[in-house]
């Protein structure tokens, strides 16, 4: 992984982080289509996935513009290999059961909504505009995932157990969202994006409240997996996701779809 040395590289890195998060998570959520526990949830999950795909088009579109190499958002989504992806690991872990999917969604939405709130004040107008649009969508995602986490956590014995298992599994992936590096420092300096670490306090308040309502216990460990947002080490799962997602573009280079 090349350490970004200038503002352009850092900016591009930041945009990829935003866009890859929504791309990979949107892809994961879209895997549910046709398989959810009840029709109403099937439709709701598809709405979330559609919002995330739409946000991906904006973030990766801007990333391509900033990179200035004549690429498109599609080129970035479909023609990079795993080491070039900058999403946090949380987004790429497999769906598991519906409980794990919704827990992952909630843990991400909580971060996402705070992050977008800050980005609406970005010194870069394009970033602020994307954040403005996305924040409305994400406010709804958060409301819905939080409600579902509470409902299932405080539901039956089985649903409670499954949600606690989901939380235990996913919690080690939370910390990565708040890790900062030189690229982040560059973004803070330029007033484009906040320091990830600075979102943690607000996040913890929000997440503790909801998980408390859900009668779930946050694991007593601050250990955090990392490597996604720097690209240093993704999970094994990402490669499988990409082989599906990128297959047509890879098998038939240059074709228009």
């Amino acid at each position: 992984m090349a350490t970004p040395v200038n503002k352009e590289d850092a900016f591009s890195q930041f945009l990829l982080r935003m866009g890859d998060n929504t791309l990979i998570l949107g892809h994961r959520v879209s895997e549910w289509c046709g398989h959810a526990p009840v029709l109403e949830e099937d439709i709701a999950l598809a709405n979330t996935a559609l919002d995330l795909i739409g946000q991906t088009q904006m973030w990766l579109g801007l990333a391509a513009e900033v990179q200035g190499e004549g690429k498109s958002a599609d080129d970035l989504a479909f023609l990079r290999d795993a080491w070039d992806f900058r999403n946090v690991l949380l987004c790429e872990v497999p769906n598991g059961d519906f409980g794990r999917t919704l827990m992952r969604q909630f843990l991400f939405d909580a971060w996402h909504s705070i992050q977008l709130g800050r980005l609406m004040k970005s010194s870069d107008e394009r970033v602020a505009a994307i954040a403005e649009k996305a924040s409305k969508e994400v406010a709804y995602h958060l409301e819905r995932s939080a409600d579902t986490v509470v409902g299932l956590g405080d539901g039956t014995e089985e649903s409670h157990r499954r949600m606690q298992e989901a939380l235990d599994y996913l919690w080690p992936y939370v910390g990565e969202m708040f890790q900062s590096d030189e690229a982040d420092a560059e973004m803070v300096k330029a007033g484009i994006a906040p320091d990830p670490a600075s979102l943690r306090e607000e996040y913890d308040v929000l997440v503790s409240r909801i998980l408390g309502d859900a009668t779930l216990i946050i694991p007593d460990s601050s250990f955090a997996h990392k490597g996604g947002r720097t690209g240093a080490m993704h999970t094994e799962h990402l490669g499988h996701l990409l082989t599906q997602m990128q297959w047509l573009q890879r098998a038939y280079p240059g074709a228009k779809w």
């Binding site: 099937d42 559609l50 088009q57 299932l152 039956t156």
Partner: protein
């Protein structure tokens, strides 16, 4: 169509009431859930609406098969929105069926244990990306042909569901044609995919209208009740007439060497699908029947704890609110 093999139930109701009921239908009145209706009308409708709803839900699977492999972000979004619409259409139709006294869970279980059917078309696989275009173009095209007249069906809730569905459906066929057009105008490999999709999906699409009129003895009663608006062969002919020029525009060949314009009839002559294959698929022997039902059963079984959990929470919350008041 989506209700391919619906037999009208014989009816043994009071002849006077029956005559009055028929008079209302002939006068173009809508029948509403609380109105008196013959038992046969109610049962036939439950089966027809149910089969239609199940077709929407099972129909999510062959197209959903390509969501994670869609070749561009835009195509992925369009396909996901479309498959989501199918879920919505299933939902509207289940609600229409519920007004006739069968709950969503009951009717779902009838699909899952094989007591109720869904359209045979969804037991065929989607094997290459052009299939997604072909499904929109042919399968939704055929569906629309049936659904547009059904907006005028005699049962109010069914008619209202169809109106909403038709409004949403209009983008489905167009996106399908657009997708397959890109392929037909694309690289040699893409053209091959498009032709391959048409080859495999042509006859199954023709089957969607149900067996030939001469073998479909039960439609007279349904037509009198206005829950079936056209005969199977009428709609099939209309579909062929509409689709042939669209295929020609794409430069694709319909896999029917005997297809030709009949000046005298003012219609295309075409080869009927292999009806023995159709009846095998209906019996459960299509290429995907087992997988489709297994997928629906898995979603239902795996989802039970979620449905129970959220309901249990709602009850707890209501109890706590009561206690606080």
């Amino acid at each position: 169509m989506y209700a391919q093999m619906i037999k009208s139930e014989a009816t043994q109701d009071d002849p006077e009431k029956l005559a009055a009921f028929q008079a209302r239908i002939d006068a173009g009145e809508k029948i509403e859930p609380k109105d008196w209706m013959p038992e046969g009308y109610r049962k036939t409708l439950i089966r027809q609406i149910g089969q239609h709803a199940h077709s929407e839900i099972v129909g999510q699977l062959p197209e959903g098969n390509w969501i994670t492999r869609a070749p561009t972000l835009e195509r992925k979004a369009i396909l996901l929105a479309k498959v989501q619409d199918e879920a919505g259409h299933g939902l509207y139709l289940y609600c229409a069926a519920e007004t006739l006294g069968v709950s969503r869970d009951e009717i779902t279980e009838m699909l899952l244990d094989g007591r109720m059917k869904y359209s045979s078309i969804f037991n065929y696989p989607t094997l290459n990306w052009a299939d997604i275009g072909a499904v929109g173009w042919l399968v939704d095209g055929a569906a629309i042909m049936n659904q547009v007249p059904l907006q005028r069906t005699s049962f109010g809730p069914y008619s209202r569901a169809m109106i909403r569905i038709c409004k949403e459906e209009s983008f489905h066929q167009r996106q399908g044609y657009d997708a397959i057009r890109k392929m037909a105008e694309g690289t040699p490999e893409q053209k091959k995919m498009a032709q391959d999709a048409l080859n495999r999906l042509w006859y199954p699409s023709l089957m969607m209208f149900g067996p030939s009129d001469k073998d479909s003895v039960h439609s007279a009663q349904s037509m009198a009740w206005k829950i079936k608006m056209n005969t199977n062969d009428e709609l099939r002919q209309k579909f062929v007439d509409q689709t042939v020029p669209q295929a020609e525009y794409l430069g694709l060949t319909i896999p029917d060497p005997d297809l030709k314009w009949n000046e005298e009839r003012g219609h295309y002559d075409y080869t009927d699908p292999d009806w023995s294959e159709f009846f095998e698929v209906i019996k459960g022997n299509g290429p995907c029947n087992v997988d489709r039902l297994a997928a629906r059963n898995k979603a239902w079984d795996d989802g039970a704890w979620v449905r129970d959990g959220l309901l249990a929470h709602a009850k707890k919350k209501a109890t706590r609110q009561h206690a606080a008041e």
